[in-house]
């Protein structure tokens, strides 16, 4: 086990970091051997316990990009990694692909790839400040902020204030030195307010289906209005949507110079086209950073970058298709009201409403223990579709569907629920499976 070449600290600090890295590898190997998970977090925890500065040591000498926000982190991280890696992975990129997005996961990912010069890290919203301080990223992608796991993560405005303070500390990019470029979704006022303190921001109009957490102005407490042209503004102070450097319009990325570039991706849904737009702008920002040139050594080209995104066909099983009883089942993950709303938009992109929809909801620690958010999800939009409720909290779902006046069946166990749905749909028919975090994992494990 080594730490990145050329950046190895000397003396006692170096010995400590090397010992911590060895511990990460040992614990991860042990954890995998014992069959207790993939071992990405356990080793990282031990490493950080031995050397609290380990994350900073492991990040030194690499070009780091961070991706954070409530929804789309994992997908955008994958898309950005694909854009930077190039065809066939010509330029190696390390990433916390398993979705372990807290410092222990970052340590494990980086310790496992000591000589890879580029890192793309998905970051839990609550840890963005720590990652900014420890890894000195060249690019930070900020997607959106909305209510999620309110029993664990802070309310949106507390998070915004913490991001704002942390982003105010990052250095500006300058020739010959390393600074940070923030790529921020200008359509989300919460993100716009948080990123407002950063010295350099590329504003992307990536869209935002969910405005319910952003009506109260984060700057003055006034009221933000969202007109159809997307130029949101506060009714009391001068806080308004920043001028755009790029915008996602349908399946095109429109740059400030007016050029339009097709977003060709294999992932479905407008929210993924938005994620792709953010990833492309981030890849360009990283390429244009003064320290060196594009991912292929030359200046990066937006169409070249966008073309690489088509290589991503699924993200940790999300958007993938499994076959059950001869029928195709599309697997979709949604964790919070904004995410479920976006997935309902995706379902509505197909005209057919006869395909059954299996909904699976758990409320374990990783999901948030409170299921009240189900009442913020517009389940009314499923009316007319065959719906099956499952998961640990299928009874919460059932009551919510009753008041949405959506007829439904309740079945214990994700596979039994799928079989029930497919049985109702007839031979050869498919189904859609929508689960929140651990419910999705349950199905992937069970099949």
């Amino acid at each position: 086990m080594t730490i990145p070449s050329g950046t190895r600290p000397s003396g006692r600090a170096g010995v400590r970091a090397a010992a911590a890295c060895a511990a990460v590898a040992a614990v991860n190997g042990l954890s995998r051997a014992l069959g207790r998970g993939s071992g990405t977090v356990a080793g990282g925890r031990v490493g950080l316990a031995l050397d609290p500065g380990l994350l900073g040591t492991l990040a030194t000498g690499r070009r780091v990009a961070l991706v954070s926000g409530t929804n789309g982190k994992t997908t955008t991280t994958r898309l950005l990694a694909a854009a930077l890696a190039g065809p066939g992975g010509a330029n190696p990129v390390v990433s916390n692909e398993t979705g372990a997005n807290m410092p222990a996961g970052h340590v494990a990912a980086l310790a496992g790839a000591p000589d890879v010069p580029t890192a793309v890290l998905e970051v839990d919203e609550g840890y963005l400040g720590r990652l900014l301080d420890d890894t000195h990223p060249e690019v930070v992608v900020l997607l959106n902020l909305s209510r999620d796991q309110l029993d664990r993560i802070a309310e949106v405005r507390m998070l915004v204030e913490r991001w704002r303070a942390a982003l105010g500390r990052v250095p500006a990019p300058r020739p010959g030195g390393r600074g940070t470029v923030v790529v921020a979704n200008a359509d989300d006022p919460m993100v716009a307010f948080a990123a407002g303190t950063a010295p350099e921001v590329r504003w992307v109009g990536a869209g935002q289906v969910w405005h319910d957490d952003a009506v109260g102005c984060p700057a003055c407490g006034g009221r933000i209005a969202f007109p159809d042209d997307g130029r949101w503004a506060c009714d009391r102070c001068d806080f308004t949507r920043p001028g755009l450097d790029a915008e996602v319009v349908g399946d095109e990325l429109v740059l400030a110079d007016g050029t339009r570039h097709r977003i060709r991706i294999a992932l479905p849904g407008q929210f993924n086209r938005a994620n792709a737009g953010m990833a492309a702008v981030a890849a360009l920002a990283l390429s244009a950073a003064p320290a060196d040139r594009g991912p292929d050594g030359g200046p990066a080209d937006v169409d070249l970058v966008l073309g690489r995104l088509a290589a991503v066909t699924e993200v940790a099983g999300r958007f993938s298709t499994m076959t059950r009883a001869g029928g195709p089942v599309r697997l979709l993950l949604a964790k919070n009201p904004a995410g479920w709303t976006a997935v309902f938009d995706l379902l509505d992109e197909a005209p057919d409403r006869a395909t059954p929809v299996v909904l699976s909801v758990n409320a374990r620690t990783a999901d948030g223990l409170d299921t009240s958010w189900l009442w913020d999800v517009p389940f009314e939009r499923l009316a007319g579709r065959p719906v099956v409720a499952t998961g640990d909290r299928r009874l919460d779902l059932a009551v919510r569907l009753r008041y949405a006046e959506v007829s439904h069946d309740v079945v214990d166990g994700p596979l039994a629920a799928l079989d029930h749905a497919l049985g109702c749909a007839g031979p050869g028919a498919g189904a859609e499976f929508l689960g929140n975090y651990t419910a999705f994992a349950d199905l992937r494990r069970a099949r």
């Binding site: 407490g221 009221r223 223990l369 409170d370 009551v399």
Partner: protein
Amino acid sequence: MSRPGRRRLTVCVVYPDLLGTYGDGGNGLILARRARWRGFDAELVQAPSDRPLPGADVYAIGGGEDGPQVRAATSLAEDGTLARRVGEGAVVLGVCAGFQLLGRSFPDASDRPHDGLGLIDLTTRKGTGVRAVGELVATPAPDAPRAAGGRRLPRLTGFENHGGVSVVGPGARPLARVVRGVGNGGGDGTEGAWSGRVLGTYLHGPVLARNTALADLLLGWALAADDAPVGTVAELEPLDDFEELALRAERLEAVDATRPTGWRAVRGRWRTGR
């Protein structure tokens, strides 16, 4: 036995743009649906904070963040409709931040006391310990409002998530006694409060999804004849609530199965005053 005195009902969800953080908008939906399923002409109105509050028979106020809570209390006080309608007999359900702002004062984001609406004799300050987060179960107080026919409300179940400590004054009554969780948190083991037809609680879930008897009590108040004495509950035809009852049973069972032991039990008793 009191028959409903009216056929029309307006349910208003107060400021969902400010106080819609914790899914409590579901309470308004549940009330409107349960009235409509019984053949009443029920209208559900979502009232945004930038317009005058409409006149309604039932107001449902939900939980929210500190800044929006202050803004909501200020707007409601300036608007004046809610207090006027309460004087005319309207029913109010306040949850969490919406409960706190019905009281005399509550803390703002920087912990300074902010004026509430004074519709319940209740004072809230910031708690000193960790936030109260988790399942909350409470038994209605003996003098808590009774359902139609004088029946006692069954145990209340929900999920709490708040940092406030609320003390019920002599002008109001506690709604229930905490069995599990923290509730009002003032050391007296109480949860929620009520006064006339204004009722507040820390229970999310939303509370009426898991406690349909409470939903029907609020509807019974609102649908009682206009000249009936305060506290009259109109008898409503029963609904087939098998899914709500299954959810209730499952939640109560889950809480019973994880009874705290050791220092957690001691800490829990200390915080709730039991």
